[in-house]
Symmetry: C2
Subunit: 298 residues, 2 copies
């Protein structure tokens, strides 16, 4: 993007998020030690911090700042992490590696991994409540709780995960795959942008624009994830590449082909960027993030 | 209690709660069907509805009504149910029966049971947010979200469950057992009473009194649960009696003896009732509920 240094932006925001996560997670020295160690193990395992950075970018697009939305940004990362911990369980995807390290249940056992996920989801809502102290109109907190609960629940992320599990080993339609992607991944990405804009006082027009962009961005992100899973290597992704295939999961390139998938992701990103035009100068981080979603290698 | 018909009170409130739960749970006809069926299976399996009734009684004690707190009352029952679904999993307590029926994972499989628990916890916070429309000061919602998240998280219910799991098969101290009981059970019972009073506009003095009473009531409830587990039968409890012993779990009567346990529960209930004196006439339901906690047979 013309003059915008995305790598510096991402590195700075990621450092802010990591510092805030470190502060908001319970101390490993506080009892019960095991669960706090397990929560920190997965949250502090690195990762792109895409969702919290989108919360921040959503706030910045309407003139807000990272400090106004940081507890909610951390909440979104905790919800994302809880979903990964539970997805990796033997009863679900049965994965041994995540972000290049052993999965939570391989280190702490299934019981603690289930509880660590539960605890992260619970703590996420505590953090959203705490965000009330940082915004000009604390009544917005109620809407943010509702939006994030919807995006994470059965009409969002959990719903997508259910259909994903039920589709394993089956030939599914393009519509079912899009349902899975829109719910399992895109819903939380869209919500991240939306709540960032809402907490920072964005008006209805701004929130509508960011919602549509978030929807496209979220779907494009998952399409690219599917492509990377097909192409990637263990080294680059930090998880077993080709794992979708091994689990007989339908993927976007599997149904539409790799070229059509790339084109579709590009189209969605272009449309998202067009919609972000309303924010003028302030949209620079979001426009760069949109390009990053399709161009990333991991 | 002098003239107060507890059975009628419980039956009426339970019917109100069941109707509200029915309304707030996603329809079994809405996709994804499986997860909605699994959520309803466990929530609508009956049960005492103690936590939602305590939310209502907490509101009534400060002059409020059931209608003002019903979404939050349902939220507490959903959090309680999610904890039972996850506790029953093979990776945790590995129970086949609950409330006289097959446990969630025995019917729907481990993956859906994990997700149904996740979804109920998530929906609970959605309902608390919705409660904002029913109270005079919607800013209290932020505090209610925070209180319930704390009571359900690692400084509350999940924390108690972690120590419970880690203590299985070990000789634990009376202090550790009290830690487990206060966190795993009492924290959510106390929070139920507190948020009922807060949503209905209770002042600081009222909330303080109800908090102390809730703390005693919660611990007494779990002590009686332990006694019933030792004494009970499959028929009465709807789960395998003596299951704590089978799992080598420490119990209150196991450590203190059955007679001392009964005396301790009675002392806690008497103290709770004394503290509820500040509510005068309005405390009748709570006083009767307190007696019910020690006198119940299941």
């Amino acid at each position: 993007m013309s003059g915008f240094d995305l790598q510096a932006y991402l590195a700075e925001r990621r450092a802010l998020v990591d510092t805030a996560l470190e502060r908001h997670l319970p101390s490993e020295a506080a009892p019960p030690l095991t669960i706090h160690r397990a929560m920190r193990y997965s949250v502090m395992a690195g990762g792109k911090r895409l969702r919290p950075i989108l919360v921040i970018a959503g706030a910045e697009a309407v003139g807000g700042a990272a400090t106004m939305v940081m507890p909610t940004a951390c909440a979104l990362e905790m919800i994302h992490t809880y979903s990964l911990i539970h997805d990796d369980l033997p009863a679900m995807d049965d994965d041994d590696y995540r972000r290049g390290r052993l999965t939570n249940h391989k280190v702490f056992g299934d019981a603690i991994a289930i509880l660590a996920g539960d605890a992260l989801l619970t703590l996420a809502f505590r953090l959203i409540a705490d965000n009330a102290d940082l915004v000009s109109d604390p009544r917005v907190i109620r809407d943010v709780v509702a939006e994030i609960a919807d995006a994470a629940g059965t009409i969002g992320m959990v719903g997508g995960q259910v259909v994903d599990i039920e589709s394993e080993g089956k030939a599914i339609s393009a519509e079912t795959l899009e349902y899975i992607h829109r719910h399992k991944t895109a819903a939380l990405i869209r919500a991240s942008l939306r709540v960032g804009a809402r907490l920072a006082g964005g008006d209805a027009k701004a929130v509508a624009a960011i919602t549509e962009a978030g929807s496209d961005l979220g779907l494009a992100f998952q399409i690219v994830d599917d492509i990377l899973d097909v192409e990637g290597s263990l080294e680059e992704l930090g998880k077993t590449a080709g794992s979708d295939e091994r689990k007989q999961k339908a993927t976007y390139p599997g149904i539409h082909g790799r070229e059509a998938s790339r084109r579709q992701a590009k189209m969605l990103i272009d449309r998202a960027k067009e919609r972000l035009g309303v924010f003028g100068q302030r949209s620079a981080p979001l426009l760069a993030l949109a390009d990053y979603v399709v161009e990333r290698k991991s």
